[in-house]
Symmetry: C2
Subunit: 219 residues, 2 copies
Amino acid sequence: MRRRGVKNLDKRLEESSNLIVKDPISLKGKWNTLFNNNNPIYLEIGMGKGDFIIEQAKRNPNINYIGLEKFPSVLIVAYDKLKDLGLTNLYLVVADATNLLDMFEENEVSKIYLNFSDPWPKKRHIKRRLTSNTFLPKYEVILNNSSTMEFKTDNQELFEYSIISFNEYKMKFIDISLDLHNRLDDKGNLLDIISTEYEKKFVSKGNKIYFIEVGFNHE
Amino acid sequence: MRRRGVKNLDKRLEESSNLIVKDPISLKGKWNTLFNNNNPIYLEIGMGKGDFIIEQAKRNPNINYIGLEKFPSVLIVAYDKLKDLGLTNLYLVVADATNLLDMFEENEVSKIYLNFSDPWPKKRHIKRRLTSNTFLPKYEVILNNSSTMEFKTDNQELFEYSIISFNEYKMKFIDISLDLHNRLDDKGNLLDIISTEYEKKFVSKGNKIYFIEVGFNHE
């Protein structure tokens, strides 16, 4: 979801204080020095406009969050929401998932979130899907052993594809829901789901969100 | 879906000619002698009123079909539909999936169908679900190596549970659909889905059918 015609984008990114990490490669293996603590690092790949990860960071001060977004024109929207909140546990990075191994050391990450990733519906673009085996080996390297990845989407085909892809890569399925927002807890209450902007609109129309949590079988 | 008060049930089963196999255990390892050929054997577990397997048998004369149903009062409905069709490639058996290994030899079966299996929604009954690991090891024994199992249901919770269960048992996911009846082929046409009675009613109300095809990773 690239946005066009954002005014003075380069200048604004440049002046964005340190909330947007300019040189993520230099932090490989030492992101804890940026956060100034050794709390676990949770990574959202394709953060979009930031609603999900900002809310996560607000609610969980003892977790460090990094939001990756490849389009600067989109990331700047998240930055505008974030800049006056005073959070010290969330940083944003303009980056592509292709380069994950340049930015993160083995086992450096404790959770990966994929929310409403680009479905790349055409067959010839399958390898670009963030749940394809182009990316799974990279996630496996940077995630530490007991960690998991959580993936949400409203796109039925992408979800079907991803289940097959995860299974083929011999991942462990921990949790799944075919209608996340109507899921009940043990007491029969709706769960408190942290949503993206897109998700809120979609759910308000009565549509279903698919969810899966998976881990890697490190052998 | 037990039915009550079917008149003269025992007598009718007794007189049902040979289309209802009375002693399936005696056929273990030699079902081909019943069919009088060596065609592959496809098994539906929980056949219900028989619509699905009768239609399969009509369309595929070179496949041998066996329909298992544990409630005689339900099986007799399938028998009534079948008895005048003159099919020689379909037999019915009153039997419970628990006893599969008494009835079939290793590798004797080339396909298993589970259609709209009882969801057993209560936690204490999970082990009774036909997709639980109570039954998966039995399916693994009787299915020959390259064969698969196809499972359809409209029950969201049972489907979610089954995906996790299959993954845990390290099965191979071959195909999946979260809306089988709206699936299109490569040319954009709807597929020709052979449906159960229950399924036809359910789909006509606009509800979704979940589908998965899985295999065993014989190692």
